[in-house]
């Protein structure tokens, strides 16, 4: 993943001294978001870090895989962090926060239970914004080779001679 080096390598303490927490999983600083343990960080080009953190949470809520770390969701939504697209994304996330407030929460990230966030998303699933994010994730998330092993998928096999000698018929429970 294209993480930046600047916030990486900071100690958790250094990181937290420059940032505020956003939701349960992210810290947001000037121009970046990072994992609370500083294991990974993404630098923003055009989106505000708060928007990016919200978008990352939205991505997880659309395609939640408990074994897939935030890092991969952040990578998946990086495609929306462009100068041309930023305005539309900021507006879409503002709409998402508005829907959260209407549902009685502070913001989307301030909506603590997944079930409540999913209700908010369901209420806007026919919008172009939601569909843009969802359809982009189909490749943005699942085409990241780094997550394939989490699902057991082995990817390319030609260079290893296929599976003819590597278990194409090794099922043992039938």
């Amino acid at each position: 993943m294209e993480t930046t080096t600047s916030p990486k390598g900071m100690t958790r303490r250094q990181l937290l001294s420059r940032a505020t927490a956003a939701g349960a999983t992210f810290v947001v600083g000037a121009g970046f978001i990072a994992a609370p343990d500083a294991a990974w960080a993404v630098e923003m080009k055009a989106l505000s870090p708060e928007t990016f953190a919200t978008l990352t949470q939205m991505a997880r809520d659309i395609y939640p895989h408990d074994k897939v770390a935030d890092e991969y969701y952040a990578t998946a939504v990086q495609m929306y962090d462009t100068n041309e697209g930023a305005e539309g994304i900021e507006a879409g996330i503002a709409g998402l926060n508005e829907a959260a407030r209407e549902a009685g929460f502070d913001s989307y990230l301030g909506t603590l239970w997944e079930a409540d966030r999913v209700k908010i998303l369901r209420s806007m699933e026919d919008t172009d914004f939601f569909q843009q994010i969802r359809s982009g994730l189909v490749t943005g998330l699942y085409n990241q080779k780094a997550i394939w092993p989490i699902f057991g998928y082995e990817g390319e096999s030609y260079s290893q001679g296929g599976y003819i000698n590597r278990g194409f018929d090794d099922i043992n429970w039938l």
Binding site: Y142, S157, Y163, F168
Partner: protein, 523 residues
């Protein structure tokens, strides 16, 4: 004269498309000493170029020029500009295909007679008798080295097949095997043996699977009688005042319009592009499109009754390992109207990699219902339905005058809605497939909607009478003496079998006919 041929050489047979139909026809004619210019819209990719990666391969090979869709099929909602998943490359869709190679059952050549009058269906008998095609099927099987024919062994079953076979037997099905595949099961012949790499849909990097890209096309070229022009997109077929075709206009690789003269033109661009080309070739003499006096060009589009069933188990399957279409269950292939529908269906194993599974399992859906299924990807087994669908006049390819391709040509719009018979058959097939997995203790089964079409048939149908269809029993246009259709668009009805073996058998047969007529001086 030897290849390459001059643009003004009007002795050549021009073939449009180099897939199953066009690639085979070109080689067959070239072997007989006939000069062939094959024009192919796509580029040339060989086993060393193929990519073991679903989306990268899609980007390399798939036809992604714009098409539009309408009708009630779900593809029109989920993939509105991708009605079909087919290929634009030398070799056409035989680069992507899985290799299942089945003969029609005898009664399927006579669907109207066998099934009777089905309301809303435009059923017709093929003007071909089953015994007329037998020897061409045998020649096709030899050419393609189909397993379990000609003494060739079957392929070994992979994990996905073993689950499939056990499930079929558990519910009392008998006709289950690793099928008839155009994939080498031994080291004889000049293609390698299948190495069970599991990327059959992405182009076989070992060349074990038959594809015209590295069999028919180079064999034809080696005779010196066949020239393949890549990245040559045919825009229009031209004719003279007598109504005979005289050549074609095409955009070359640099986007320049060229004109190739021809003695005969054979159209093999798959079932969207072939009718689109005839419609785009309308003239004052043929105002409704070339060869369209019947009004049937573009109509009766068939795509097979399809759908998939994925079963999730409490233990690993690893279905992606090995041959993608590794086996078949044929107990339901016959015509047995007591099931509530006419015609039959086959069930065949299928697997998708994780990226395509995410895209195609239930397009548009999201949330935990969707993701928990993918979480069990490693424990999934998969199968695909292929059954006979009903030809309907309103299921058709038309020109969309509002949308143009990169050459400024109106694109094809594909309108499709299921016939009630199709729905009843799919339902039955879903239940059979689900029962197979449930009998083995599947913890969850997923009846998955049809993908963008891979089998495209019928849009220039074959008919005994000129009023009922576009081409005669040899694939010659009823209206034009030197124009042929050489791909799956000729199909009168679709049968329950994967179509390619039949496309190839018809192409071999058509080559015999063209050669005989040429030597008699009739064309």
């Amino acid at each position: 004269m030897a290849a390459p041929f001059d643009l003004n050489d009007d002795s050549v047979v021009v073939i449009i498309g180099t897939g199953a139909g066009g690639g085979t026809l070109g080689n067959e004619l070239a072997q007989k000493g006939i000069s062939v210019v094959a024009l192919e819209a796509g580029g040339r990719y060989l086993p060393q170029d193929f990519i073991n990666d679903e989306w990268d391969s899609f980007g390399q090979l798939a036809w992604t020029d714009t098409r539009t869709t309408s009708g009630e099929w779900r593809v029109s909602r989920d993939f509105k500009n991708l009605p079909a998943w087919i290929v634009k490359a030398v070799g056409g869709t035989t680069t992507h295909w899985a290799g299942a190679s089945l003969r029609f059952q005898d009664h399927e050549w006579k669907a109207r007679t066998t099934y009777g009058d089905v309301a809303g269906a435009n059923l017709m008998d093929w003007p071909i008798d089953p015994r007329e095609i037998d020897s061409f099927y045998t020649r096709a099987e030899e050419k393609m080295r189909v397993t379990r024919t000609g003494g060739r062994p079957g392929l070994p079953g992979n994990n996905n097949y073993k689950v499939f076979e056990a499930g079929a037997k558990a519910i009392g099905k008998m006709e289950v095997s690793t099928g008839h595949m155009a994939i080498n099961s031994d080291e004889t012949g000049d293609r390698m043996m299948c190495q069970q790499t599991g990327f059959c849909f992405q182009g076989c990097k070992w060349g074990a699977k038959w594809s015209t890209a590295y069999t028919e096309v180079p064999e034809g070229e080696a005779t010196g009688n066949m020239e393949v022009r890549e990245r040559a997109h045919v825009a229009r077929i031209l004719h003279d005042a007598s109504g005979k075709v005289t050549g074609v206009e095409y955009f070359d690789k640099d986007g320049n319009l060229q004109m190739q003269k021809a003695r005969i033109v054979c159209v093999a661009g798959n079932s969207f592009e072939s009718p689109r080309l005839l419609l785009n070739s309308a003239s004052s003499m043929f105002p409704d499109g070339l060869a369209n006096s019947s009004g049937q060009v573009g109509r009766n589009y068939m795509r097979h009754v399809t759908g998939s069933v994925y079963g999730i188990f409490d233990k690993p399957v690893k279905m992606w390992r090995g041959t993608t279409m590794a086996g078949i269950m044929q107990d339901e292939a016959g015509h047995n109207p007591e099931r509530g529908f006419v015609g039959g269906y086959e069930l065949e194993t299928l697997s998708l990699g994780l990226p395509f599974m995410a895209a195609f399992m239930d397009p548009g859906s999201w949330g935990r219902e969707f993701t928990t299924a993918l979480d069990s990807y490693e424990n999934m087994a998969g199968m695909w339905i292929v059954g006979e669908d009903m030809p309907q006049e309103s299921n058709r390819v038309t020109l969309n005058m509002d949308v143009k391709d990169q050459h400024g040509l109106p694109v094809a719009n594909v309108n499709f809605s299921d016939h009630p018979n199709d729905i009843a058959m799919r339902d039955h097939a879903f239940k059979t497939g689900m029962a197979m997995y449930e009998a083995l203790g599947a913890t969850r089964v997923l009846p998955t909607p049809p993908y963008p079409s891979t089998h495209n048939l019928g849009t220039n149908r074959m008919s005994a009478n000129a009023a009922d269809g576009v081409v005669d029993k040899n694939g010659k246009a009823h209206d034009v003496p030197n124009l042929f259709i050489s791909d799956g668009s000729q199909f009168t009805t679709g049968a329950a079998e994967n179509p390619t073996l039949t496309i190839v058998a018809l192409a071999i047969r058509q080559a015999e006919h063209i050669a005989a007529e040429m030597s008699r001086g009739n064309i």
